[in-house]
C-alpha cells in the first residue's frame, strides 16, 4: 500500500507535467488546417525575438529539474517505509538557513524591481546582497552537515541520513550552478553595462532563485514531516 501511494505521487506529478505539455501542444494544433497553403500565417508563427529563447530555455530546464527532484522525493517516499529507516533530528540551524534563503529570494526580487526601474545602483547592491546571502546559506548547510556528522549521523549509517545528505547536496549544487549565472550577470553590471541589457538576466536569476527556494521548502517540509 505504501508503494501505491508513492507510485500515485509519481504518476500524478510527472503524469501531470507530461499532460500539461501534451495539452499545450494539442491546443496549438487542434483547429489548424495545415494543408491550406495561405491559411492564417499570423497566429502562432515563429520568429519571436531570440531573447525569449533564453527564457523558454530556463523554463524547460526547470521542468527537467522538477522531474529530477520529484523522482528523488518519490524514491524517498518508497524507501522510508522499509524497516531500517530511522529519521534524523533536524538541527535548529536549518530553520535559520531557510530564513536566509527566503531573504535571498526577497533580495533577488528587489533587484529585479530595481532593474525594471532602471536603477543601476539598486541592481548592483541587490545582486551582491543576493549572492552573499546565497553563500551564507550554502555555508550554513555545510555547518549542518558537520553538526550531524559530529553527532554520529554518518551518511551510510541510515538511509534517512543518506537521503538528507544527498538531497541537500543536490539542492546546493543547483544553487552553485545558479551562482555561475549570477557571477556573469554581476560582473557585467560592475563593468558598467547598461541596466536594460542585464534586465533579462537579472529576471531569469530571480526566477531560478525563487524556484530553488520553493524546492528547498518542499524538501524541508519533507524532512520535517518524516
Amino acid at each position: 500500500m505504501d508503494h501505491f501511494i508513492t507510485l500515485l505521487f509519481l504518476g500524478v506529478f510527472l503524469g501531470g507535467l507530461m499532460a500539461a505539455v501534451v495539452w499545450w501542444l494539442l491546443k496549438q494544433t487542434i483547429n489548424v488546417q495545415p494543408w491550406v497553403a495561405q491559411g492564417s500565417i499570423e497566429d502562432g508563427h515563429g520568429g519571436e525575438l531570440p531573447a525569449s529563447a533564453v527564457k523558454t530555455g530556463l523554463w524547460v530546464f526547470l521542468a527537467v529539474v522538477t522531474s529530477l527532484f520529484a523522482l528523488f522525493i518519490s524514491a524517498y517516499g518508497m524507501r522510508m517505509h522499509q524497516g531500517d529507516w530511522s529519521s534524523l533530528p533536524e538541527p535548529g540551524l536549518l530553520w535559520l538557513n531557510t530564513g536566509v534563503l527566503i531573504v535571498t529570494s526577497v533580495a533577488m526580487q528587489w533587484t529585479r524591481a530595481a532593474a525594471n526601474r532602471g536603477q543601476t545602483d539598486g541592481v548592483r547592491i541587490g545582486l551582491v546582497a543576493g549572492g552573499i546571502l546565497t553563500f551564507v546559506f550554502l555555508a550554513g548547510q555545510l555547518v549542518v552537515w558537520q553538526q550531524l556528522n559530529a553527532s554520529g549521523y554518518y551518511v551510510a549509517a541510515n538511509p534517512a541520513n543518506a537521503f538528507f545528505y544527498l538531497l541537500t547536496a543536490l539542492h546546493g549544487l543547483h544553487l552553485l550552478g545558479g551562482l555561475v549565472a549570477w557571477g556573469k550577470t554581476t560582473a557585467r553590471v560592475w563593468r558598467g553595462v547598461a541596466v536594460r541589457e542585464v534586465r533579462e538576466s537579472v529576471g531569469l536569476c530571480t526566477v531560478y532563485w525563487h524556484y530553488l527556494l520553493l524546492v528547498w521548502l518542499v524538501l524541508f517540509a519533507l524532512l520535517l514531516s518524516t
Binding site: 505539455v21 494544433t29 497553403a37 515563429g46 520568429g47 529563447a53 530546464f61 521542468a63 524514491a75 544527498l166
Partner: protein, 592 residues
C-alpha cells in the same frame, strides 16, 4: 545578416526579427573540432555513435558465437559472455540509438527544417557533444579496468550489479554509472537546444502544424528524454553511493556464508521502478524520431501527402504522454500487486491505439502512391514490416498472463530487437541514404545500397524470427550455455547455429554500407540541391552542403505545410514549403 521577407507577399507582414550573432570560426580546429555549428556537431555525434555502435556489433557477434557454438571459444568464459551482453545492450540503446537520433539527426535536421540559422544556444550545443564523447570514453575505459566492464545485464539490477560474483562489480559498474550520469548531463544540454529551437526559432510562417513530422518526432522524443532521463540519473547516483559509500538505498540486508553484510535493508524494487520509469519512455525516445523520419521518407518517395497529418501529430503526442504510465509492464515478475499488473496492462494496450493509427496512416500513404523503390523507400517499407512484427509481440507481452511465462526467455529478446533495434536502425539507414546527398552533395551508390538493404532486412528476420520460437520452447536469455536441459530439444541448438550464422552475415555486410559512405563521399554522383524533389526547407538551401547559417542572406518564408506532393496542375509534382501561393498559381498557369 538580416531576416527579410524574400517576397512582398500580401499575406505576411515585414519581418521584425532582430539580427542574430552567429559564431564564425576562423581556423580548421574552430570549424571542425570545437564547432558550434549544429550541422558539424551532428556529424560529430553521428561518427562517435556509429563508432561505439560498431564495438557493440562486435560484442553481439561474440555472444552469438558462444550461443551458436558453445565450448568452442576459449576466450569467452561465462563472465565475458555476461559482459558482452551488458555492454552490447547499453551501448546500442543509449550511446548509439539515442545519441544518433537526437544528437545526430536532431542537430542536423531541426535548424534546417524549421528554417533557423542554428540552434538557439550553439555554445551549450557544442559542450553537449563533448560531454557525450567523455561519457563514451568513460564507458570504453571500463573494458580496460581490473575486473572488466559490468556484466549485470543492461538493466543493472541491484543487488547483483554491485555484489561480488557479478563481473565488473567494482570498477566496471562505477564507470558505467558515472558514464550514464555524464551522458544524461550532456543530453540535457542538447535537449534544451532541440526543444527551444523548435519552440522559438522557427522561421516566419512555420507554424507548429507546418512542421515536418521528422521534427515533431524528434521534438516529442526530446521532451520525453528530458523528463525521463532524470530517473536514470537518480538511480545511477544512488547506486554509485551504495557501491562506494556503503549506503543502503537499494542494497538489502544480506546474509552471506552466515555473515551479516554491511547493508541494512534497502529496496531493490525501488531501483526497478526508477529504471523502468526511464526505461519505457526510452523505447519511445528511440521510436518517435523513427516514426517521424519514416513518415517523411514514405511521403517523399511515394510522391504523396502524408495521410492524416494532424492525426499523426496527435498520435505522437498521445504516445509520448502514455509512455510515462506503462513502465511497470517490465516488472510483472517482480511480485507486484495484481491490480497494478491490471492497470499497467490496460495502459499498455491503450498505447497500441495511437501506434496502430500511425501504422495505418503509413500504409494509407503508400496506397495508390507513385512509389519509387529507392533505397530510402526500401528501408522505410522494411521498417513498417518490422515494426508491425515487433509491435504485435509487444501486445502479447503486455499481458501478464503471457508475459509471466515468457519472461526472461528469448521471446523477449526477439520482441524488443524487432521493435526497438531492427525497426529504428532500418530508419537510421533509410534516413542516411535520404539525407546523405544534402550532407555531402553526393548520392550514395544505389546498387551497394540495395545489397545492403536486402541482406540487412532478410538477415535480421533470419536472426529474430527463430528466436521467437526458441522463446516459446523456454530457452532463457542471458544464459552462457543451456546444455543438459531436457526440455530443450536438439533442434534448438541447430537453430542457434543458424541464428549465429545469420548474425555474422548481417554484421559483416554493414561493411558494404561503411564502404559506400566513404566511396560515395569522393566518387558518388553529384546530387544537386534537391535530388528527391522534396518540399521541406532543408532541400531549399542555396548551398549544398549548406553553409554555416544554412539559408544565405535571407531566411526562407513558409507558406504551406511540408506535404504538397503530386499537386494537380503544379509545374513539378511538388511545391516546396517556401513557394508563395501566387507563385505556385503562376507556375501552374505557365504550364497550362
Amino acid at each position: 545578416m538580416s531576416y527579410v521577407a524574400h517576397d512582398a507577399s500580401a499575406f505576411v507582414a515585414p519581418a521584425e526579427v532582430e539580427e542574430v550573432e552567429l559564431y564564425h570560426p576562423k581556423t580548421f580546429v574552430g570549424k571542425y573540432i570545437w564547432s558550434q555549428d549544429a550541422k558539424v556537431i551532428a556529424i560529430q555525434y553521428a561518427f562517435t555513435a556509429i563508432g561505439i555502435g560498431l564495438v557493440a556489433l562486435v560484442l553481439s557477434w561474440l555472444m552469438r558465437l558462444q550461443l551458436g557454438f558453445p565450448n568452442s571459444f576459449s576466450f569467452i568464459d561465462p563472465s565475458n559472455y555476461l559482459q558482452f551482453v551488458t555492454m552490447h545492450g547499453m551501448i546500442m540503446v543509449i550511446y548509439l540509438l539515442t545519441a544518433l537520433f537526437l544528437g545526430g539527426f536532431g542537430n542536423y535536421l531541426i535548424p534546417l527544417m524549421v528554417g533557423a540559422r542554428d540552434m538557439v544556444f550553439p555554445y551549450v550545443n557544442m559542450v553537449s557533444y563533448w560531454v557525450y564523447l567523455f561519457a563514451v570514453l568513460l564507458l570504453t575505459a571500463s573494458f580496460f579496468v581490473p575486473g572488466g566492464p559490468t556484466g549485470s545485464g543492461w538493466t543493472l539490477y541491484p543487488p547483483q550489479a554491485i555484489l561480488e560474483g557479478t563481473p565488473g562489480a567494482t570498477w566496471g559498474i562505477i564507470l558505467m554509472l558515472v558514464s550514464l550520469a555524464f551522458f544524461i548531463i550532456g543530453f540535457t544540454m542538447g535537449g534544451l537546444n532541440y526543444v527551444v529551437t523548435v519552440l522559438q526559432a522557427r522561421t516566419r510562417g512555420m507554424t507548429m502544424m507546418r512542421l515536418p513530422l521528422t521534427v515533431w518526432g524528434i521534438f516529442m522524443a526530446t521532451i520525453l528524454a528530458l523528463l525521463a532521463f532524470p530517473a536514470l540519473f537518480v538511480s545511477a547516483v544512488m547506486m554509485i553511493l551504495d557501491q562506494t559509500l556503503g549506503t543502503s538505498f537499494f542494497m538489502p540486508a544480506i546474509v552471506s556464508m552466515g555473515q551479516q553484510g554491511d547493508y541494512t535493508g534497502g529496496n531493490p524494487l525501488l531501483f526497478q521502478h526508477l529504471f523502468w520509469f526511464f526505461g519505457h519512455p526510452e523505447v519511445y525516445i528511440v521510436a518517435l524520431p523513427a516514426f517521424g523520419i519514416v513518415s517523411d521518407l514514405l511521403s517523399v518517395h511515394a510522391r504523396k501527402n502524408i495521410f492524416g497529418y494532424r492525426m499523426m501529430v496527435w498520435a505522437i503526442l498521445v504516445i509520448g504522454g502514455l509512455s510515462f504510465v506503462v513502465w511497470a509492464h517490465h516488472m510483472y515478475v517482480s511480485g507486484m500487486n495484481p491490480y497494478f499488473g491490471f492497470f499497467f496492462a490496460t495502459t499498455t494496450l491503450i498505447i497500441a491505439i495511437p501506434t496502430a493509427i500511425k501504422v495505418y496512416n503509413w500504409v494509407l500513404t503508400l496506397w495508390r502512391g507513385n512509389i519509387h523503390l529507392t533505397v530510402p523507400m526500401l528501408f522505410a517499407i522494411g521498417f513498417i514490416f518490422t515494426f508491425i512484427n515487433g509491435g504485435l509481440t509487444g501486445l502479447f507481452l503486455g499481458n501478464p498472463t503471457v508475459s509471466v511465462p515468457l519472461s526472461d526467455t528469448m521471446f523477449v529478446v526477439a520482441h524488443f530487437h524487432m521493435v526497438m533495434a531492427i525497426a529504428p536502425i532500418l530508419v537510421v539507414f533509410g534516413a542516411i541514404y535520404h539525407w546523405y546527398p544534402k550532407i555531402t552533395g553526393r548520392m550514395l551508390n544505389d546498387t551497394l545500397g540495395k545489397v545492403h538493404f536486402w541482406v540487412t532486412f532478410v538477415g535480421s528476420y533470419g536472426i529474430y524470427y527463430p528466436m521467437h520460437y526458441l522463446g516459446f520452447l523456454g530457452v532463457p536469455r542471458r544464459y552462457y550455455a543451456i546444455e543438459g536441459t531436457d526440455f530443450i530439444p536438439q533442434s534448438a541448438y541447430s537453430l542457434n547455429v543458424g541464428i549465429t550464422i545469420a548474425a555474422l552475415i548481417v554484421g559483416a555486410f554493414q561493411v558494404v554500407f561503411l564502404y559506400n559512405l566513404v566511396w560515395s563521399y569522393f566518387k558518388g554522383k553529384p546530387s544537386g540541391s534537391n535530388p528527391w524533389n522534396a518540399t521541406t526547407l532543408e532541400w531549399q538551401t542555396p548551398d549544398t552542403p549548406p553553409r554555416h547559417g544554412n539559408f544565405g542572406p535571407t531566411l526562407p518564408l513558409v507558406y504551406r505545410w511540408a506535404y504538397d506532393y503530386s499537386v494537380p496542375g503544379a509545374k513539378q509534382d511538388f511545391i516546396p514549403q517556401n513557394v508563395p501561393p501566387d507563385e505556385a498559381a503562376a507556375r501552374a498557369r505557365d504550364k497550362a
